[in-house]
């Protein structure tokens, strides 16, 4: 394994994941070696079952690999306790899920400020940042609504605002445009590219969406749990 550089935010070495499905072992990932550099706008593509979501879960510490190691922002994930992992995710990673996964009992404002609250950001600063971020994702005037009162596109914008508001190093997005119409998807992609350019955050997507693939600065194709192609643009 080559030396981890300062600009490498994610490094994986021989990451393997084996699931048990009805008692039968299934190899979701087969020894993935990958380095993602700071500020990259990376798309993970591949057919269903190729291991995209599993890979995202493992590099974010939401799941643990059967074998291999993951370095994230200079830390070895397997060496962290449950609480350390929670803190690490809170401070370094923003998540955007395909199914939005907002907390239904919280308002838009509360959903967005939740991570900052966990991090102990003062109330006034939280409020200012939430309002600013909602403005940035085009959601002015909906702060007091609950997720069920929003459209799918609006919910995904809230999820993006939640992921970005605490200014993490890395944004991981699992099929962020899959449940959106093409115009909303294009708007969101444009917004994320702008944020990537302005803040230098690292974005990694899993996607089937050709529009997202087109916009990526790096395209990694997975097949049968292995890296098939890795193309920088």
């Amino acid at each position: 394994m080559e030396q981890v550089q300062k600009t490498d935010v994610i490094v994986t070495a021989g990451v393997t994941k084996v699931y048990e499905a009805d008692g039968v072992p299934v190899n979701a990932l087969n020894g993935i070696d990958l380095t993602i550099r700071s500020g990259e706008f990376t798309a993970l593509v591949g057919p269903s079952g190729s291991g995209k979501t599993t890979f995202l879960n493992i590099i974010s510490g939401l799941d643990s690999p059967t074998a291999g190691s993951v370095w994230l922002a200079g830390k070895v994930l397997s060496e962290m306790s449950g609480n350390e992992l929670s803190d690490f995710r809170r401070d370094n990673i923003g998540f955007v899920f395909q199914a939005y996964n907002l907390i239904p009992v919280l308002t838009v404002e509360e959903n967005v400020e939740y991570i900052m609250l966990l991090a102990g950001v003062p109330k006034a600063e939280r409020h200012d940042r939430v309002i600013g971020m909602l403005g940035a994702v085009g959601l002015e005037g909906v702060a007091e609504r609950t997720p069920t009162q929003l459209s799918g596109g609006q919910q995904q914008r809230v999820a993006i605002a939640r992921a970005m508001v605490s200014e993490p190093q890395i944004i991981l997005a699992d099929e962020p445009t899959a449940n959106l119409d093409s115009k909303t998807g294009a708007d969101l992609l444009e917004m994320m590219r702008r944020l990537n350019a302005e803040t230098g955050m690292t974005f990694i997507f899993s996607t089937h969406d050709p529009m997202v693939m087109e916009g990526a600065t790096r395209l990694i194709t997975l097949r049968d749990g292995r890296i098939d192609t890795d193309e920088r643009r």
């Binding site: 449950g82 998540f95 996964n101 009992v105 919280l106 939740y114 609250l117 966990l118």
Partner: protein, 404 residues
């Protein structure tokens, strides 16, 4: 924020929350009623027992309670009584003389327990007149009259107006014997006592046993039975006499008190059984709720919520329902106990406890009726929430978010 989420979560499945709360409210109210009835029953029994027999506090010559003897007397009962009367919270006092002898009416004879009572004081202190169910109470001055127990009257086939001959031994060693006219029949509520007791005026009893001016027992009634321990201490201090024993009713009637305590412990077990049944119901709904929100807990963990915060989220949710249930349960418990304290539960037949006969059971409204169910419901709720809370805290985010 965790508290806010927990609070709002309780309103998401309103029907389930109401059912969970209802189980807790019913459990609280049942517990409250059980305690109210139990305290009411024991309070009634204690009141009857102390008022009719022992009084709240007794004073004896040192060692009399362990080994009663004709010779262990209080030599200046009037002076001791006067000192006791001046003690705060003392309502009344009376003095008694005890002795055993042979009682005969006509051809029939049996063993009798002679109780010499200071009639006027005994009426004030222990409502002696209420015990006389036939005939009249003893005269307030010594007149060679006797009031005998209902059972004793039956054994001796005695009637009002008959003469009873008592034969015993005087404190000076002489043969004591005298004749008394039966003026009344008494019922104390204790059949054993009623089969042997023969009440005489205290001066008649002192004359019979050659115990002039002396008494075996001073009985004290306090204005509130809950102050017995404090007043006992105050009397001890005031008398400051090492030859006298001052004892509360719990010491005087040790075996009765112990039996009652054991009985109360039995009640505590039944309370826990009620709560166990409620807890199982609550556990089921809490587990269902955790199962349903598995995905949400996964998301919360994914975005940085610590396992311990997820744990408290589940516990808080149950505690919030428990707090609301305690408030409603307290209102319901007080109302039910209040109604039963007025109307009571009437038994089809009289029941006997420790020699005391009870026909109607009244509940008591007191702090215990609220505090014990509140603590029990809260502890049960917290215990019940622990397992689901640990389960939620240990959820693996990736696996949880695959749940639909």
């Amino acid at each position: 924020m965790i508290l806010k989420i927990a609070f709002r979560n309780t309103f998401r499945q309103k029907r389930r929350t109401i059912l969970t709360a209802l189980a807790m409210v019913v459990g609280f109210a049942l517990l409250s009623l059980t305690i109210g009835l139990s305290d009411g029953a024991y309070g009634g029994i204690i009141e009857m027992f102390t008022r009719n027999r022992t009084g709240h506090i007794q004073v004896h010559r040192e060692g009399y309670l362990d080994k009663p003897s004709l010779y262990k007397t209080i030599d200046n009962p009037s002076a001791v009584g006067a000192a006791i009367q001046n003690t705060a919270r003392v309502e009344a006092w009376t003095q008694r003389v005890y002795g055993a002898g042979l009682g005969s009416v006509g051809e029939k004879s049996t063993a009798v327990q002679i109780v010499g009572v200071d009639v006027a004081r005994e009426i004030r202190a222990t409502r002696f007149d209420n015990r006389v169910i036939e005939g009249s109470v003893l005269a307030e001055t010594a007149s060679h009259e006797a009031v005998i127990g209902k059972g004793l009257a039956k054994i001796l086939s005695a009637e009002i107006g008959d003469e009873i001959v008592i034969v015993s031994q005087g404190a000076d060693g002489s043969i004591a014997n005298d004749v008394y006219q039966i003026v009344g029949i008494a019922e104390s509520g204790d059949d054993v006592t009623d089969r042997v007791v023969c009440y005489l005026h205290i001066e008649d009893a002192q004359e019979l046993f050659v115990l002039e001016g002396r008494a075996h027992e001073i009985v004290v009634i306090v204005s509130n039975i809950n102050w017995v321990d404090k007043v006992t201490g105050a009397i001890e201090t005031r008398l400051n006499d090492p030859t006298l024993d001052v004892a509360p009713w719990q010491v005087v009637a040790k075996s009765f008190y112990r039996a009652m305590k054991t009985d109360q412990q039995g009640d505590a077990i039944s309370r826990w059984v009620i709560m166990l049944i409620v807890a199982i119901g609550v556990l089921n709904t809490v587990l269902m709720s955790v199962l349903e929100r598995t995905r949400e807990y996964g998301v919360l963990k994914a975005v940085g919520t610590k396992p311990v915060q997820i744990f408290w989220l589940v516990v808080c949710e149950v505690v919030i329902i428990a707090l609301a249930s305690i408030c409603v349960g307290a209102l319901l418990g007080v109302l039910i106990n209040y109604l039963f304290s007025i109307y009571g539960i009437t038994y089809p037949e009289e029941i006997t406890y420790g020699g005391m006969k009870l026909k109607t059971l009244y509940a008591e409204v007191n702090v215990r009726c609220l505090v014990i169910p509140a603590i029990t419901v809260m502890i049960s709720a917290v215990i019940v929430s622990l397992f689901p809370a640990v389960k939620a805290a240990r959820i693996m985010p990736a696996k949880a978010m695959r749940t639909h």
